[in-house]
Amino acid sequence: MASRLQRQETRAALWFISPWIIGFMIFTAGPMIASLVLSFTDYSLVGKTSGVGAANYQELLSDPRVRTSLTNTFVYALMYVPLGTAFALGLALLLQRVGRAAGFFRTAFYLPVMTPAVAAGAMFLLLLNGQRGLVNQVLGWVGIEGPNWTTDPNWLKPSLAVVSLWAVGGSVVIFLAALHAVPRQLQEAAMLDGAGVVRRFFSVTVPMISGAIFFSVITHTIAALQMFDQAYTMFYGPQQKSTASDASLVYMVYLFQNAFQFFRMGFASAMAWVLFVIILVITIAQVRIGNRFVYYEGDNR
């Protein structure tokens, strides 16, 4: 009887999850294998295809643009992820201290997240204009001479980070929720023990919300390494050439160009697998490091 019921349940469960299984086969598992195979060929959509062994991977190592794009992506991620996390945490801490007013600010902070990336890119292309942009005008008021954000090769990656930082509101909402979940008794106990504001922040608040910080860092790192929309909108076009220079060439832009503008699909597949491995290694490293610091409530997970 029990086993009949079990079989029936299993059948029903499979029926429910079948969309995902089918989709996984067609759009994930199959293409993964295909792309791995392609990465060892010179496939280019038209013309003859032949296996080239590891040549694509060797070329990856020697292609200076691959190295440039990888460096650019890392530099961007190293600016965006820590700054984004710090800003979001700072704003969430402020929001936590203003009570009901937090609702209004939370909504305002989230508006940029709803703005399409292409729109944000186009807008900041003007706001960050070196001579007459609003950002440099405001910097001028406080006596800072702003750089040529969108043309100076040294400032292209910071300007991409600025565009992304503008949409940091999602993390603020997440951190605020985490802060609200910190039991008040802990803060009060620490206060009774004579811990000051700073000490309480680092010894109580940070450990208690470390899970949310950790989650945010990992997802933002994964997203940052795949950044495409803003860079492509601001600095690349159908002309295949950058309107600036390779200083804004992020990995996904170069991969996209190889795949769909130069039709070097074998090479692009190799690039994709390298990106996958990089993301895997970084994520695993972050999880390893994170597990040492992250506190899980009740440790019941």
């Binding site: 989709g23 009901r100 729109a119 186009a122 900041f124 929720a177």
Partner: protein, 320 residues
């Protein structure tokens, strides 16, 4: 492994689904009342000073987040020579910018395309993810955790890995330069949404389902009559998230669409930006008018759903 997860979730999903908006208000108030802890030592003036400082900083941040959008509205109405004067109220209001955008590309078509693709994408992914999530939440079957782990693992896979073969599939069936590839994958659920909805389904008391079962309800009826109505807040979040993601997506339209009439709004916007802001005579005001057109629909959607969306993120984050 499975039991602690199941046990750990209900208070979050169950409590979170109705409550966050109303529950957070008092929580916030409690913070307000409790936080002048230093102030309760009698030093209210000092606590008011800090509160004022916090509010001032927050207003400054709000300015940084919101003013660019205000600036956008203003810039889209200015003549070319005044775009960079950065004045809030345009000296000369030039409505014709929008007419120029209209002539520069089939903007109405793009808006319609984006709306259609967005609605199909969001509806498809919400329904399919809910089905799959219910499968993982309600039933007990062999290898369930392994399979669910696989679902979660796909979140780490960069889109770039499958991008080319998936393109080749659509190319093979002659669907390139149609909008089908923009939404078809959504029929099969999406890992993050499956994860999110599963948490909500786990929060529904199992007795509700058992009672329905005794009354002779089929699994599908339980899904439609019990699980779906109760998960409505979560379904709205998934729908809005996907609508936004689909509306913003640039990569897929770049890959699949060649005919301008089929473009979605971001793809069309990119074309206008290329033509007016990155080359030619640099008519920034036209690019900004198009940017505004692409942005407004999402702001409107947010205006109507922000409660759900913001509380939804807050709840889902706690589960992550």
């Amino acid at each position: 492994m499975s039991t602690p997860v199941v046990q750990g979730i209900p208070p979050i999903g169950g409590g979170g689904e109705q409550g966050p908006a109303s529950a957070r208000g008092p929580a916030g108030a409690a913070t307000l009342a409790g936080d002048p802890g230093p102030g309760s030592r009698g030093d209210t003036a000092r606590s008011w000073f800090w509160r004022g400082l916090y509010l001032a900083l927050l207003f400054l941040a709000t300015l940084a987040f919101v003013y660019p959008l205000v600036w956008l509205v203003s810039a889209s109405l200015k003549p070319k020579s005044q775009v960079f004067d950065n004045r809030l109220i345009p000296e000369t209001v030039q409505w014709s910018n929008f007419a120029t955008v209209w002539d520069a590309g089939p903007v109405l078509r793009w808006l319609l395309n984006s709306t259609t693709v967005g609605l199909i994408s969001a509806t498809a992914v919400t329904l399919s993810s809910a089905l799959v999530a219910f499968g993982f939440a309600y039933f007990r079957f062999r290898h369930r955790n392994l399979l669910f782990g696989l679902v979660l693992a796909t979140m780490m896979l960069p889109g770039a890995v499958t991008m080319i073969p998936v393109y080749l599939i659509w190319n093979q069936v002659g669907m390139v330069d149609t909008q089908v590839p923009l939404w078809a994958q959504n029929l099969f659920g999406s890992a993050f949404y499956i994860f999110l909805l599963r948490q909500f389904f786990l929060g529904i008391p199992r007795e509700l389902f058992e009672a329905a079962r005794v009354d002779g309800a089929s699994y599908l009826m339980m899904f439609r009559r019990i699980a779906m109505p109760l998960a409505r807040p979560a379904l709205v979040i998934v729908f809005v998230f996907e609508l936004q993601a689909s509306w913003s997506d640039l990569m897929k339209p770049l890959i699949y669409l060649q005919t301008p009439e089929y473009f979605t709004m971001p793809r069309g916007l990119k074309q206008i930006v290329d033509a007016f802001a990155l080359s030619g005579e640099y008519h920034w005001e036209i690019a900004m008018a198009a940017t505004l057109i692409a942005t407004i629909p999402m702001i409107l959607i947010f205006a109507f759903t922000q409660r759900y969306v913001l509380d939804g993120i807050a709840t889902s984050a706690k589960q992550g």
